[in-house]
Amino acid sequence: MPADLGPLLTATDVHRHFEGMHAVDGVSIEVLPGRLTGLIGPNGAGKSTFLAVLAGTLPASEGSIVFDGEEISPLPAFRRARRGLVRTFQLPSEFAQLTVLENLLAAAPKNRGDSVVGALLGRRYWGADEDALVERARGLLGRFRMIEKENQYAGDLSGGQKRLVEIMRALMLEPRLLLLDEPMAGVHPSIVGEIASYLESLRDEGLTILMVEHQLAIVERLCDPVIVMAQGKVIGRGPLVELRRQREVVDAYLVG
């Protein structure tokens, strides 16, 4: 990515209130293209809520979100996803009664059979799109070493495998900004390193990622810059090594 490009996403003074509780209280951040930005903070800091507000899962109470030069805060979640802003979830959110391959295919946009009229016209009409998407999905399954699982129901997978399905599913949309909400949560430690390597390689290919994560070792390895939130506000940003020296950040983690 050329350095003179502006931020891919700019959130300005974003608020999210729940019945008087300020879960997100005036957060402003920039996400630079091609970077894996970390979002850390103690429990209840508002990280996940902020991510949900960015993706449109929750509407913002106030504030502006500009994605690729366009104000997106009035848009519902599905329109943001179609523009390339795709999120994953903290809790497993696989389509349990769909196979792994179907989970990926369900996320794929641009299939002529993905409308009621297209469906009624039959396979002759949409088969070519479908075949191309199956091939692309199998490419991802191969890369994430899940190809033998393609016909398993996603609900029967292990926690770590479900995480991988979610990431692959998001990648099927060819996102321009991937929002990951604790992709290592509930994952066996032996797979954490594997997921980290996948994220590292996606970053190195130029994918822009904003990731909420608790495990500082992972954040240190993958993320630059890192944004620290506490009590709904941003209290620090920069490389993690520098943040470790900031009194306020350390206090928030210890106290929080």
Binding site: A55, T57, P76, A77, F78, R79, A81, R82, V86, R87, F89, S93, E94, F95, A96, Q97, L98, T99, L101, E102, N103, L105, A106, A107, A108, P109, N111, G113, D114, S115, V116, G118, A119, L120, G122, R123, W126, D129, E130, V134, E150, N151, Y153, R169, A170, L173
Partner: protein
Amino acid sequence: MTFYITTLLVYAAVDIIACIALNMQFGVSGLVNFGFILFQAAGAYTAAVLSLPPQSANGGFQQYVLGLQLPFPLPWIAGAIAGGVVAIPIGLVVLRKLRGDYQAIALLVISIIANIVITNARPFLNGAAGVSLVPPPLADQIGVEAVNTYEYQYFYVVISLLCVGLVLFAANRIANSPYGRSLRAMRENEVAAAALGKNLLAQKLTMFIVGGVMGGLSGAILVGFIGLWAPAGWLYPETIVLFAAIIVGGRGNNWGAILGAILVPVGFFEATRFLPNFGQPGLIPAFQWVAIGSLILGFLWFRPKGVFPERRRTFPNPSAG
């Protein structure tokens, strides 16, 4: 005996179409439409008032709107369209803001309200007595005598089964397409589906209309055969019977919906009809409802996926071939 068999076959066709429609909504898309019977009623009433002569024709003993005496198959087509049209305002009200379980409650309530309104607004569709003497298809062309022949009975069975074939074809095309996959994804996890770019409202409303069209057609077929349609025939428990059929047959599988339709609304109610009468009047129907409830509970407990579970979709692998 022939009349009995043809009657059973037409009832089976009607119930199969209704079950496929509800399966597309509930089994495939996850929409708990507790008001489904309303769409069948919309189709039946529409087909009735389009087949009937003007209300003054029979000495004005019944009141209803229209009375256009349209030739077959226009009343059936209009019945199907009516089911879809009714789905639009109801869908927009119910599907936009409410979450799944509240949608189900709202639909149940709408179905009950609609029944009460039709019962009490007599000039519209003749109130509690319902519309009767609905001419069967082609009666005007071939004469009333011809309608009471075996040949006509079998003809009715054939056109009903043709409609079943058409509905099954359309339903399977949708269920087995990429669109069907998007619907199943919505059923499995709405929030995740929206985060992957699925327009949930559009998908739900579309399936509301698709199911409404099929339900409307089923009503049109039934009213053409039995010749009358009254509020007592589309009380909300009728919807529960269809749900029982789908749970028994297999949610998400149209062949399961067909089996369920044959086993529950047709088979079960026909089989129990021949029980010797015992106890007070109304005891056997009451036991029928107990049995339907037990059937739902039993299947959800012991075989939640039904007799024919939704099949696993696999894709041919070129390298393995």
